[in-house]
């Protein structure tokens, strides 16, 4: 067991602009006095707000019954004293007990509602998270792995390490790493239950051991700090509107001296011959389309800056190009086909694009496929790899 840590392990804050009181960390007091300042803060907040007070418990990892009772009482009393005031308690589906426990409060006072936050995490989540993307992810990982299996050694991957793959998707990368490098432990986290179910099924069917799949939110993980030699996060920083928040978490769970490894794209640099122009136009539009949904699929070359700004040192950046020559060109074509279906399909429709635009947009993907399958053709998809070391 670790030595006693006398610092308080929780934090309460009030944000007047958003009328939001938040409490996070581990709240397990022996006596209620230990909560004094936080309770005062909550009472003050209640005194000052009009309309709604948001009570954010998303990052509340633990709270004992004694503490729960005092906080609840303050809120319940406030409902009775000020019937015009509403409370919205925001829980997280990731911290299993919070929704159940706080959920009871709405049964006591109708002015208290309890909402699970994660239903809309990052803009565009709906397109990528559930179901549809699974086959594409599989083929993509197969194609990128050919390159990454060699690259990873230069970024801290070696046998016996403890590693985490954050935003692991359906877990293919974790499985490949497990086979090739035999780390002693892999924690693989994602926020898609269907992807995790898929990953667990694969693990059972192939009798794979040593991978722990876990449901979580990359921007606030339940994982302890400083426990991984290598933290990987592939193709995912680019889908968050605030990648720096995720990076901060990756940094936190990485051991001092360990490394964080990220891969990202720069979609506008996808290329092909013949029909380069049409292909180039379409991928430029892909970048804009994602931008519309607040995702930055041009992030690749910005990795260096993000890593530096997050406090990493010894930053290494390299690129590789997945091409139609790597393996079966049909794999490449399948991935493009799947992109076309989502990007020129649901996403374009959601942005409200007209049929003329969609036709031209689609054509670029068709041309990319044409280039990939052409006997003399060449088609490429560039990826930026970057890693940094957490200072000792």
């Amino acid at each position: 067991m670790s030595p006693y840590n006398l610092l308080p392990r929780f934090k309460a804050q009030y944000d007047a602009n958003n009328q939001e009181f938040s409490i996070s960390g581990v709240v397990r007091p022996q006596a209620i006095d230990e909560l004094g300042p936080s309770l005062t803060l909550l009472r003050d907040a209640i005194g000052r707000v009009r309309g709604v007070l948001y009570v954010n418990v998303r990052r509340l990892t633990q709270m004992n019954n004694a503490a729960f009772h005092v906080f609840s009482r303050i809120i319940i009393d406030a409902c009775r004293a000020r019937p015009e005031l509403k409370f919205v308690v925001i829980t997280s589906s990731v911290v299993g007990w919070t929704s159940r426990k706080f959920g009871r409060l709405s049964g006591i006072e109708p002015n208290i509602t309890v909402e699970e936050y994660d239903s809309q995490f990052y803009p565009g989540q709906g397109f990528l998270e559930e179901g549809g993307f699974v086959p594409i992810l599989r083929t993509q990982t197969k194609m990128t792995w050919r390159h990454e299996r060699a690259i990873l050694r230069r970024h801290g991957m070696r046998p016996g390490i403890v590693m985490a793959d954050i935003c692991c998707g359906i877990g293919d990368f974790a499985v490949l790493v497990q086979k090739e490098f035999q780390p002693s432990r892999i924690v693989a986290l994602d926020h898609s239950i269907s992807s995790l179910n898929y990953a667990r099924r694969v693990m059972r069917e192939f009798d794979i051991r040593g991978i722990e799949y876990t449901y979580g939110d990359a921007s606030e993980m339940l994982l302890d700090e400083a426990q991984f030699d290598l933290v990987t996060c592939r193709h995912s920083l680019q889908i968050f509107n605030r990648p720096e928040l995720i990076l901060k978490e990756l940094y936190r769970i990485c051991k001092p001296g360990g490394r964080v490894y990220i891969t990202n794209e720069k979609n506008s640099h996808c290329l092909g011959e013949p029909r380069a122009e049409s292909i180039g136009w379409t991928y430029n539009e892909v970048a804009k389309l994602f931008g519309y949904f607040e995702m930055d699929v041009e992030l690749g070359p910005k990795s260096r800056r993000y890593l530096i700004e997050a406090g990493f040192e010894d930053i290494r950046v390299e690129t590789f190009m997945v091409t139609n020559l790597d393996g079966d060109p049909q794999d490449f074509a399948d991935v493009i086909e799947a992109w076309a279906n989502v990007y020129a399909g649901e996403m374009a429709a959601r942005r409200g694009d007209g049929p003329e635009f969609v036709a031209r947009f689609r054509q670029g993907f068709q041309d990319h496929i044409f280039a990939a399958l052409h006997p003399k053709g060449y088609a490429g998809w560039p990826i930026w790899v970057a890693s940094g070391r957490r200072p000792q």
Binding site: M1, H69, W97, R100, L196, E212, Y213, G216
Partner: protein, 173 residues
């Protein structure tokens, strides 16, 4: 999940996972022990659950409450024994700690109340009530929020053994 074993009495066999024993005196010397023991054991036993991190968080949450109950024992002589065993989706905590005879009586009554129909109702009343949660309410909450089943077993000497079955693996997201 492996085959279901039943012993002669028809009760499924729980496979032992981990046990921690310590002097009650040592245990009650620092409140933080509840947190440390619950967190440590939760981590140890959750590694091969389908979602280790989530399981560990839930388990620690429930187990800590039990340890806080034991912490308040009025009989500070003897051993505290925490044992966790497993049968399929259910983890069983057996917590044995010294207590006065009247406390044992109290636990027996508290646990029989937990099984009652109005458990939920009573739990809600306690949340909106004035009193800080009693040991009884804490046990009630385990049943209401974690679908725990509880019972009290005989223990040697001046001690009580709380047996709590937690089906955490089955709790929905």
């Amino acid at each position: 999940m492996g085959p279901v074993h039943h012993d002669l009495a028809g009760e499924p066999t729980f496979e032992p996972m981990i046990q921690i024993d310590m002097e009650v005196r040592t245990f009650v010397s620092a409140w933080r022990h509840c947190d440390y023991v619950s967190t440590y054991m939760a981590r140890m036993i959750s590694q091969n659950r389908s979602d280790s991190v989530r399981h560990s968080n839930l388990f620690s949450s429930a187990f800590n409450e039990l340890l806080e109950v034991a912490f308040r024992t009025r009989h500070a002589d003897g051993e505290l024994a925490c044992r966790v065993s497993r049968h399929g989706a259910t983890d069983r905590i057996e917590l044995t700690f010294p207590c006065l005879p009247e406390e044992r009586q109290f636990y027996q009554e508290a646990v029989s109340q937990v099984a009652g129909f109005e458990a939920r109702e009573r739990y809600l009343n306690s949340v909106s009530g004035d009193l800080a949660p009693s040991r009884e309410v804490v046990l009630l909450e385990l049943a209401v929020d974690y679908n725990a089943t509880l019972r009290v077993e005989e223990a040697d000497g001046d001690a009580v053994k709380l047996v709590v079955d937690l089906p955490l693996e089955g709790l929905e997201h």
